[in-house]
Amino acid sequence: MSIATDQKSQESTFAHSAVALLSGLLFGLGLIISGMVNPGKVIGFLDLAGNWDPSLIFVMGGGVAVTTATFWLVLRRERPLFEKKFFLPTKADLDGRLLIGAALFGIGWGVGGLCPGPAITALATLDPSVVLFVGAMLLGMVLQNLVAE
């Protein structure tokens, strides 16, 4: 490999890493600003028959508005800035795994008020309940991986 391409690949690796870190940072700040790191607020949305808090609709609405307005433009490019290709899900049809998985997730979400993003973001507060939840969530992921194999 020539020195020029080696340097280019190092720059690309750096940019790739910076994008990942920045994306995570923005995502986490979004969850904190919107209050979605708080399981109480998420349960407030899911509790239609209680003191209903529609905030989560606005969080998803704001997020989906940005992604829907931009994804199609980004995907018109041949490739992303710092990768050889786009990595997009290839499955197109509904199946039992998808729906059963989403249902199990929905039940867990309703019980704990936490989904993966807020759980990891809130982990940095070292709140014991969140630490316990994340431990169980990681175990659930590993178990699914074992069952799938």
Binding site: F27, L46, G63, D93
Partner: protein
Amino acid sequence: MENFTPFSALIGGTFIGLSAVIMLAGNGRIAGISGILGGALSSRGEERRWRVLFLAGLLLATLLYQFISSSPITIETQASPGFLVVAGLLVGFGTRLGSGCTSGHGICGIARFSKRSFAATATFMLFGFITVYVTRHLMELGI
């Protein structure tokens, strides 16, 4: 609806949307947390590096917010430890089985007009509503 915070919700949602666009345009990946986290557990090398950095960004967000903001981050977990473990197991297992969570299916999948993501988002929302109704109103578990 005295807890309703539409403005901070919209601003936060916009941040999340921007995060997903940066990830797609820069690295060609879907900013789906369960996929990134699950992959970080099972992959090696380059594939693991960017995933770990993304997750570090999430943690860093909390530290940065605590450093610059005067208002604390509120976390009101209402479930007992036993229920939290059950919830965590279901969320971990379910999101991996169903190939995504609120971010991958909800924020990114809908923008790609993915039929699977619409179905998954409708399903986990529906089961979330039912679960909270059953636990809070029928069983009055107070979780």
